[in-house]
Point group: C2
DNA sequence: GGCAAAATGTACGAACTGGTTAGTTTCGTC
DNA sequence: GACGAAACTAACCAGTTCGTACATTTTGCC
C-alpha cells in the first residue's frame, strides 16, 4: 500500500482506504476485547463500521486475520504509551516506585488491552505466534526496569542477584491481576475492589511489595 | 458394560442418571475450560459424552446452564483441595511460607480451574452472579490467611495494619498470573517460563516477595 | 479522455449451532 | 405384571455466521 507524495492536506474523498482500514480495526478491537474471538460477530463489527463486511474481508482476509490485527493494535497502543515514562534522573528506589505506580495505572487505563491479553492467553498465544510485529515491540520493554535495577545495585540500594525479567514478571502479575480478575474476586469476597479507595490501597500495597522485595533491608524505612 | 460387586451400592443399570449427569459435567468442564463459553460446542460436548445432546438439555436446561454448572464444579474441586492444607502448628512465618508455596503449586496443578476463572472474568463475572453455590464456598477461604496473619502480628513477626483480604489478593495475583499469562509472556520475552527450573525460581521469588512484604524487618534474614 | 487497478456495495448461500419434537426404553412400586 | 414417571435416543429445525460471487464506482496515470 503505497502513498504517493501529495501536496497539502488530503482532500476529502469518497474513497479512503486508509481511513476505512483504521475504522474497521478500531471497531474490531472494541468488539474482540468485548466478546473474545469466538464471541465477536463479523456482522456486528461490519454493522458498527462506516464500511461493510465486504471491506473487512478485503483488508483482513478473514476473521482470524482481523483478530490478529486487533491484537497487534492493542499491543502497539499500549507499548507506545509506556515509552512515555522517564525515570532516568531519579534515584533507583524512587525510579522503581514510579515505574510500579505507572504500570499499575497504565494497566488500569487500558482495560481493553488487558482483556485482549486475557483472551489471547485463553487461546494459548496461538495468534501471537502469527504476528512477528508484536515480539519486536516488546523486546525493549524490559530495558527500562533492567536499567533501574542495575543502577540500584550499583548504588547499594537494591540487593543483587535478581533477574530483571523475573522482576518485570512480578510487577506485571500484581498490576495485571488487579484488572483481569476484579470481577470474580470482587464477587466472591463481596467487596468492590474497583473503588478509587480500594485501588489506591492496592496500588500502595503493590509498590510496597515490590520495593521491599528489591531493596536491601537497610535502604528501607523502619516498619 | 461392567458389573459392580453387590457392595451395598446401586446395582448396575442401563439407566444411570447420576452417572450420566456427572459424565456430561466432566466433559463439559473440559470443553469450556478449553474453548470458553462461546467457543465450546454443545454438539462436541455431546459427542464426547457417553450420553447425548438431548440429555444435556434434559439435565442442564441450556448451554449457559451447563456452563454455570461447570463453573461451580471447577470452584468446588479447587476449594476442596485447598482445605487440605494445615499450618496451625507452625510459626507464623513458616506457616505463611507454606501457604504461599501451596497456593503457587495448587494453581499450577489446576490449570483448567485457572482457565475457567479467566473465562468467567472475560464475561465480567456475569455467570458467577447466577450461582449462589460459589460464594458460599469462598466465604471461608480467607480464614486461613487471616489466622496466620493474626498469629504473626501477635508474635511480633509480622508488621501490623495489613488487611488479610488484600494480602490474599496479592498472593493470588502472583500465583494466578503465573499460570494465566504464561503463553503471552513466554512468547513475548522469548523465554519459556513453564520449565521446572523457571517455575522453581518464580515460586521462590513469590514466597520471598510475600514474606518480605508481611514480615517485620528484624524478623527477616540478612540480605 | 481513456484505462487498469484499487476500493466498495449488494445480495446470497452453505455449513454450523443451539435447541426441540416425537417417540422408546427402563424401573420402582403397588 | 401393570403402570406412570424418569431416563434416554434419533432425527430434525430454524436462526445464525462466516465467507463469497458479482457488479459498480473511484482513482491514479498516461
Amino acid at each position: 500500500m503505497r502513498k504517493t507524495g501529495q501536496s497539502g492536506k488530503a482532500a476529502p474523498r469518497t474513497q479512503d482506504p486508509e481511513g476505512t482500514r483504521r475504522n474497521i480495526l478500531e471497531i474490531a478491537s472494541e468488539e474482540f476485547a468485548l466478546n473474545g474471538l469466538a464471541g465477536a460477530r463479523v456482522d456486528e463489527i461490519a454493522a458498527r463500521t462506516r464500511s461493510s463486511k465486504r471491506m473487512i474481508y478485503y483488508y483482513f482476509g478473514d476473521k482470524e486475520g482481523l483478530y490478529v490485527s486487533a491484537l497487534e493494535n492493542a499491543y502497539r497502543q499500549v507499548r507506545d504509551g509506556e515509552a512515555k515514562l522517564d525515570t532516568d534522573g531519579l534515584p533507583a528506589l524512587e525510579a522503581l516506585r514510579r515505574l510500579v505506580e505507572f504500570t499499575f495505572d497504565h494497566h488500569h487505563r487500558h482495560q481493553e488491552f488487558i482483556r485482549m491479553v486475557m483472551i489471547e492467553n485463553i487461546h494459548r498465544g496461538e495468534y501471537l505466534d502469527r504476528s512477528d510485529a508484536i515480539r519486536d515491540l516488546n523486546a525493549t520493554a524490559i530495558d527500562h526496569i533492567a536499567r533501574i535495577y542495575a543502577r540500584g545495585v550499583a548504588d547499594k540500594q537494591f540487593r543483587p542477584g535478581l533477574d530483571p525479567l523475573e522482576l518485570h514478571w512480578q510487577i506485571s502479575a500484581l498490576c495485571f491481576f488487579n484488572v483481569s480478575n476484579r470481577a470474580t474476586f470482587s464477587h466472591i469476597f463481596g467487596r468492590d475492589f474497583g473503588t478509587t479507595d480500594a485501588l489506591a490501597r492496592l496500588k500502595d500495597n503493590t509498590v510496597e511489595m515490590v520495593l521491599r522485595f528489591v531493596a536491601r533491608k537497610d535502604a528501607l524505612p523502619d516498619d
